[in-house]
Symmetry: C2
Subunit: 369 residues, 2 copies
Amino acid sequence: MIKVGIVAYGITPFTRDDQKIESVLLKSTKNLFEKNSEINRNDIDAVLVSTNNNSKYLAPILSEMAGIQPKITHSIESLCNSGTNSIVSAYSYIVSRLADMVLISGAERYDSPGEILEWDKSRGEFMHPIFWASIFTKSYKRKFSISDEQLALVSVKNHKQAKENPNALSHKTFTIHDVMNSKKLTDDLRLLDCSRPCTGSASILLASEQMAKKITDVPIWITGIGQKTTSAGFTKNTSFSSMESTKLAGQTALRMADHDIKDIDVAEVHDAFSVCEPMALESLGFSKSGTGTSMIKELYETNNFKINPRGGLIGSGHPLGATGIAQTIEITQQLQSNANNRQVENAKIGLIHNMSAAATSSTVLVLEK
Amino acid sequence: MIKVGIVAYGITPFTRDDQKIESVLLKSTKNLFEKNSEINRNDIDAVLVSTNNNSKYLAPILSEMAGIQPKITHSIESLCNSGTNSIVSAYSYIVSRLADMVLISGAERYDSPGEILEWDKSRGEFMHPIFWASIFTKSYKRKFSISDEQLALVSVKNHKQAKENPNALSHKTFTIHDVMNSKKLTDDLRLLDCSRPCTGSASILLASEQMAKKITDVPIWITGIGQKTTSAGFTKNTSFSSMESTKLAGQTALRMADHDIKDIDVAEVHDAFSVCEPMALESLGFSKSGTGTSMIKELYETNNFKINPRGGLIGSGHPLGATGIAQTIEITQQLQSNANNRQVENAKIGLIHNMSAAATSSTVLVLEK
């Protein structure tokens, strides 16, 4: 079977800027080409755009702006995990030999329509993601006797790590006291427990093994892929204190990569809200049920950046369609020993967890040197 | 390499009804399952939704409504050729072994946001597709000395053929005189020269060879795929009287299928406007430059349904995201000798041509028994 590698990437700072989506998209693509002048645009067979933006035909528009005339062009939307859905689609184009090299560009504006979940009437009038996050938080705290302070540490840790990420939305650090005293948004969630929508873009170039070798000496291989959709409405979840789709996607990805979760040196997990990080760690198997916050505490106290080195969604900001791609870029940089102050020592195998809408769907990727 | 077959399909009548997109989507999926009760929903690994609708997360929503818990779910948008983009993506998931069986559902409402081309400032204030179609028509007529009446015959032929398609938007027949006297919309185009936006849905199930044999005795194989994007704005086209992206996509698809255009027994081509049919026939190689209308005249006079048997976009209506899938269903029915009064005798090899925005991008598929 054809091996698929990440051969180049580009990214923009995540901001609250009011820019046209086409301009946001182009910026990370330009950044990618500027850093990799050896890439021949004629070798790019497909351009996939990952976004929740309502503008149409963005993949041909980006292609035209970037001077590419690919075979395949379209936009992909699956809310917050549009980015990894696009990466998996690109992977399949290459393995099936319809493409040798695929550009994936994800972008979002701070006012993305993907932030309102209009279809899920089981929420009643509560159509923002914070309402499922509140129920998750209440359920998780009750089931495992976890305190607000223990969850606040997720935000403290991830903001600390984001300070070392030049593209992160936030560069401030906070104490547990700061998080606890930030604006209370629901019974269980404060402002600093939440990732913030923002404007940003991230682009990545995938290539077949043969093509990859022409472009870089250090391709990062996609060795594991797992995806699962359990439902669309969060009340269909079998549990509010674990993530079933994440568990299944993680198992599939690790099986494909022929690895155990213990082999993973560094991971990006989808901390849309503070409670999501321990829940994801437990569902992926990094820690046992109810013990995710203990793992987070230990990592924080030992200054270990293993989980969410770029600062997670809470520290980096969450431009929906770009998030999964930005997560993948971070793991790529880690495996290339190119993550500066965020570098996890001797990172050889990495994992990405990207999910949508109360973990009703998840993608897990395993990357290796 | 794994062979990929079409093993089931479902479709709704195309109408001007005001229905929620989720309901429209579900209808053709239900129709597919009703006609194929042997399908086990647990065998469906991916659900791809093809649409220009602005609603988010439609693939998980459709999955939940249809009782499917797939691995892969997302929406795909590329304006009018979203449908065939989705089919090609599904094909690649199967060949790459990430999926064994993929459901593709396309749907649109009559008021689709894909009908306004907001990004193409080279049109000035003219943001509807009819303006590129007018320029194509003027250019084609001038270059090849073609009359309005010759182009009107496309509409006459396709309306005649649509009368035999129970799902078509129009069941009326028209004379050349009727077309010429229908409401004049621009200098060169009348109402009956145009396909009409509508509400409709079409679903198709693709499977690997091994899985296909469990479901049907007559799978239709996808043997050729070609796609090309030349630009996003129509003024970048190298010609207004031929379709460069169609020509390149057609050549690629025929090469992959190891066939010549002469081998094609039946074809669906993207007649968004009357001039598009002869232009597509010429760009695909069915007829020489400037002679497409002669071929159309001959087919009409001999009552030969070879081109656009279901009535094309002009006769059937054009629910953007569903169109490419409906075209593919028609060719599937033709090759299965299951097209009733529309049947082209002894059809063994078929072709689908689906394009977007003034042929700035095209997909061509070859199907075989």
